[in-house]
Structure formats: structure tokens, C-alpha cells
């Protein structure tokens, strides 16, 4: 098989006897089809970093595959969750499981933390929401997600929901577990701030 360059050359030469030349011209063409010679140090210094040409494309494809897989799994999980949330028994069982896990993972956090998706205490400036959240320790989690907050209940101060939830917050100023649930309203953070 000859390339277009060879055919072009043979046509322009005007000769009829092409058969014996085609194979030879193909061999001449093959001289330029060898391996790429290794660049010298000087040439290499002028080149772009190797990471900018091939590897990022490969990595981005892998990352894209991972992201797509996670997105599919998340969408399937959300569909199953939405279907299960319509059944009250499943919903209560799920909440119990979540609370049990939270007590094992973070014992001080499970009593006063709002369920997933609700705003955190530290970010909410309205004190009335804190009173409704801290209404009845464990029940407050289920009630706040199912029933509306009681308008007539006695409002408790906003920090009252924080201090009992994490009694170590005032004693342990530097420990990370004490600072995670208290957020930016953490009492020990202020005296130690420079």
C-alpha cells in the first residue's frame, strides 16, 4: 500500500512503469516511520512538563468514571430512601439506627444534634429554633422532623441547648471532640482566642 505522497510523486513524474518503484518508494517512506529518538537534555528542558500532555487526560477519565459511579449509587440510594421514608415504621427504624450510630461515634453529639439536612445550631441566629430543638433531648430529634415546634413552650436560652449537650466543652478547651458540636458558639474558644 502506497501513500498519497508516493502516488502524487509518481503521477507528477509521468512515468508508466510504476510497479517496480512503488515498493522501493514505500521503503524510503518507512525511513521516517521509525521510533521517536529520545530527546536530549537540552531539548527536554524546553519541553512542557509531561504531566500536562497525557496523564491528566487519563486521570480525568478515571475520576470521571468514579464520579459517575458515585452519582449513580447516590441517585439509587436517594430513590430507595425516598420510597422508604413514606413508610412510618421504616422511618422510625431508620432514625433509631442513626441515633444508635451517633451515640457510638459521638456520644455527646447524638442527644442534641439535629437530623441530617437541618441547619446547625451555630449557624442559626434565631433562638426560638433552639428552644424547639432542645425540647426533649432524644424526642427533640424525632419531633423536630415530624411535628412542628410548640409555640407555647417556655423558651430556653439558646446556649442551654449547647452546654448540657457537651459538658466537656468548658473543661476541655483544646480537644477537637469538644469543639465539633459547639461550633462557633463554643464557650472555650473565646477565652483562648488571641
Amino acid at each position: 500500500m502506497t501513500s498519497a505522497a508516493i502516488e502524487d510523486l509518481l503521477q507528477q513524474s509521468g512515468s508508466d512503469d510504476h510497479a517496480c518503484l512503488r515498493a522501493l518508494l514505500s521503503e524510503i517512506e518507512a525511513l521516517g516511520a521509525g521510533d521517536v529518538p529520545a530527546p536530549s537534555a537540552e531539548v527536554l528542558a524546553l519541553m512542557a512538563p509531561s504531566t500536562g500532555v497525557t496523564r491528566p487526560r487519563f486521570m480525568s477519565r478515571r475520576r470521571m468514571a468514579i464520579v459517575i459511579t458515585l452519582a449513580i449509587a447516590a441517585s439509587l440510594g436517594m430513590g430507595a430512601t425516598a420510597a422508604a421514608a413514606a413508610i412510618p415504621e421504616v422511618r422510625h427504624a431508620a432514625q433509631n439506627v442513626i441515633q444508635a450510630v451517633m451515640q457510638v461515634v459521638a456520644p455527646g453529639l447524638g442527644k442534641t444534634t439535629a437530623p441530617f439536612g437541618s441547619p446547625s445550631r451555630g449557624d442559626d441566629p434565631d433562638p426560638t429554633t433552639h428552644s424547639s430543638d432542645s425540647d426533649g433531648q432524644r424526642r427533640s430529634v424525632t419531633k423536630s422532623s415530624v411535628s412542628p415546634p410548640k409555640p407555647t413552650s417556655a423558651p430556653s436560652p439558646p446556649r442551654a441547648s449547647v452546654v448540657p449537650a457537651n459538658p466537656h466543652a468548658t473543661d476541655a478547651p483544646v480537644g477537637p471532640p469538644a469543639q465539633i458540636p459547639t461550633g462557633k458558639h463554643s464557650p472555650p474558644a473565646q477565652p483562648h482566642a488571641p
Binding site: L9, Q12, S15, L21, I28, E29, L31, G32, P39
Partner: protein, 177 residues
Amino acid sequence: MVVGNGGSNPDERLLFTVAYRQHAATVNGYLRSQGLPDPEAVTQDVFLALFPRLAEISGGSDGLRALLFSIAHARVVDHHRRRSKAPTVSEYDPESDRRTTHSAEDVALASHSHVQVLLYSLPDDYREVLALRIIADLSLEGTAQIMGKTTGAVKQLQRRALAALRTQLSMNAESTS
């Protein structure tokens, strides 16, 4: 297409990298076909000479190839000029003298393929026009520009080069039979 404006910005480095990966093997093959003693080293020189001239490129990839092979052609011309003025002299080493069975020419040519041997038997202009047209894949006009000739002269040159190749082929066939 006009690429860059001098210097060594990332775009030019990227263009240089792509140019090397796409054309280094072709430049190396072109230089080998012209009988240079160390084509790989000259290939590196060609690309080092290309880098500061990247801003001159116009005409896209065809322009890049034309500039690249005009640099390579200049190196080949320099080589032939040096060789004609001052032939290479090497010390005589009796241990490497194997002329008891073959001539020195035979030993030298044995390291090349029969295509290279055929090409070396052609005049410089014939060999040059064939390499630029076939290996470098340049057009008639591009070849004429690099060789400093008119397109009509290049057409005539390539016709004669093919005729010389055909003659060489028939001579080889006669000698083997």
C-alpha cells in the same frame, strides 16, 4: 496560524513538545536518508534551532513542517559542504582492517539498509528531492521553497531522480541474477 510571540511561555513549550513527538522520527529518517553520520544528534540540533523560531510559524501544521525541514535541509547542506571541503580523516587501526575479504566500502555499506545504499548512490539533489517529497511529505511548492528552486525545476528533478532509481534497481537486478 501565528503561534506565540517569542519567549518560552507554556503554549510554546506545549507546541514544541507536540512538534517533537509528531515530527522527530520523520526528521531523523530524513537525516538518515541523507547519509549524515549521527542523525539523532542532528535531530536534536534541528529542534533546538526550531524552538526560538516558533513565533515565525504560519500556516498551521504545514507551516510547522515546512520550517522544521527547512532547518533540517540547512543542516544537510552544511554537512555536504563540510564533507566536500574537508573530508573526514580517521586513524588507521590494523585490527579493524578487514579488507582481506571485503572492501572498506562494502563494510561501511553493510551497516545500512539496501534502500539507504540505493539513496547514497544518487546525486545529492535527487536524494534530497525524494526525501523531502516522500519522507517529509512536503508538497511540490514546499519542496521548491526549501530547495530554493522553482516548482518546474523540482518536478524535473524528481522525474530524473525516479529514473535514476529505476536504473539502479535494474542494475542491482542484473548483478544478482
